[in-house]
């Protein structure tokens, strides 16, 4: 017993070092479960607040670019206004409405909310974006996030006033997307190398692909169909496989995000519930 105490006394520093390493490594490798823990949310309120202040300064440097992109988006949206598509017969005029039912009896499925970006990383292997809109403002886990020009990512955790978004530039990010021309569906992921390119896998070789083709969202419980993910940059030939691997240029510029939109699918729960129930039957 005495020898044990002597041993501990002698190697106290080393044992302390080992203890701290074990704590740090277990935090790191259990991160995905861990980051839902409550005190991470508390830390996020803190760091989010500090990032917000820093971003207020940085915001001024991007005002011109932000204005440009907002003006472009406004123009695009004006073109989509329903009043532009008025028919000759006034009886078929469509009216936009904010209540769940529009005049045609369609149920609203997607609700868009804008959010200010308060922190953004694009240079590491697992990139997250912090936005200044949280549970109190209606953001929940698993909502889709887009920028004025394309898809950004998915909400992974929320606190009262902030939320973190797993960017497409994250090694665990997976998203279904299809070719706009022919409709073949594959999976968009990121290999962790260059933030300028994404990878689209599982496109069957029967598909006809040209460089510059658009890739858009398809079956998804988070995004409306038809939003641009990126454009085909390169086709990686692999003779041994039945599938193409495509290099995509993302539509979103991840380096200067200032405003994003959080998309809520109002019918998501119903869809998920049905799919879960179907899985149980099998």
């Amino acid at each position: 017993m005495r020898n044990l105490f002597l041993f501990i006394r002698r190697y106290l520093n080393f044992l302390f070092f080992l203890l701290l390493q074990v704590i740090a490594l277990s935090m790191l490798f259990r991160y995905n479960k861990f980051h839902e823990a409550s005190f991470m949310a508390v830390a996020k309120e803190w760091t989010g607040g500090i990032y917000d202040r820093a971003n207020n300064v940085e915001y001024y440097f991007h005002l011109k670019k932000t204005n440009d992109s907002l003006a472009r988006e406004n123009a695009r949206l004006r073109n989509l206004l329903r009043s532009n598509f008025e028919g000759a017969d006034t009886a078929s005029k469509l009216v936009t409405d904010t209540i769940p039912f529009d005049s045609l009896g369609n149920t609203r499925k997607y609700l868009w909310r804008e959010a200010r970006v308060s922190n953004n990383s694009s240079s590491t292997q697992n990139n997250y974006i912090t936005i200044h809109r949280g549970e109190l403002q209606g953001v929940k886990k698993d909502m889709g996030v887009i920028s004025p020009s394309g898809i950004v990512g998915t909400v992974v955790s929320t606190s009262a006033n902030y939320a973190t978004v797993m960017s497409l530039l994250h090694r665990q990010s997976r998203m279904r997307a299809s070719l706009k021309n022919s409709g073949e569906t594959g999976t968009v992921q990121w290999d962790g190398n260059s933030p300028l390119y994404l990878t689209l896998i599982d496109i069957p070789r029967s598909a006809r692909i040209n460089r510059g083709d658009s890739v858009v969202t398809s079956y998804s419980d988070r995004f409306p169909p038809g939003l641009v993910v990126g454009t085909v940059q390169d086709i990686v030939e692999d003779k041994s496989s039945n599938f193409y691997t495509l290099r995509l240029k993302p539509a979103t510029n991840f380096f200067n995000l200032q405003y994003v939109y959080v998309i809520e699918n109002l019918q998501r729960e119903e869809q998920i519930k049905l799919e879960e129930a179907t899985k149980k039957i099998q």
Partner: protein, 177 residues
């Protein structure tokens, strides 16, 4: 200014510098992440108890982790260099009794060559461990080596610059005073 206040300021300064400035520098190359924050650990006083050194480094790394959304990553690397530092200082210090006469490691207290050997070894260890943990799932060896070397180069450059720009006044202390 007392040591505690001085080092608390440095703690905050280095965290904010790393999280708000260095991590946001526009993407240079996939191999390069400019790290400077661990200079805080190198600059801690000689007479810090080793247990405290470890604890301070752990808390320091964890604070940065909360900013960068990587719980445990930087904390692990920081505790490693904090554990190694006393051994290296004992090996490298040339002047007799410099640990007593000067407050903390610097060019003045250790001399150019030993100080930069200390910085070089600690930077290399820090980056190797950090990139190793980051890439343990991927295992592209070439990427690993290149990233360690490139980031070490950038960090050394930053450390050299900050040593030249901000000269720390290291007073010679005697036992009698």
């Amino acid at each position: 200014m007392s040591d505690l206040v001085k080092h608390s300021f440095r703690f905050l300064f280095f965290i904010l510098l790393q999280a708000l400035v260095l991590q946001r520098i526009p993407f240079l190359h996939k191999f390069i992440t400019p790290y400077l924050y661990f200079l805080f650990i190198i600059w801690l006083p000689f007479n810090t108890k080793r247990g405290w050194l470890l604890l301070v480094a752990f808390v320091f790394g964890l604070t940065l982790d909360y900013f960068l959304n990587t719980p445990g990553l930087h904390a692990a690397a920081c505790t490693l260099i904090a554990y190694i530092r006393p051994f290296l200082v004992n090996l490298l210090i040339s002047q007799q009794g410099a640990e007593q006469n000067y407050a903390s490691p610097s060019i003045r207290s250790m001399g150019w060559a030993p100080y930069f050997t200390l910085v070089l070894i600690l930077t290399l260890m820090h980056h190797t461990y950090l990139v190793f943990l980051e890439w343990i799932q991927i295992g592209s060896f070439w990427y690993f080596i290149m990233k360690v070397l490139a980031s070490t180069g950038i960090s050394l450059l930053l450390i050299l610059l900050s040593e030249m720009l901000f000269v720390r006044k290291e007073k010679f202390r005697t036992n009698t005073a």
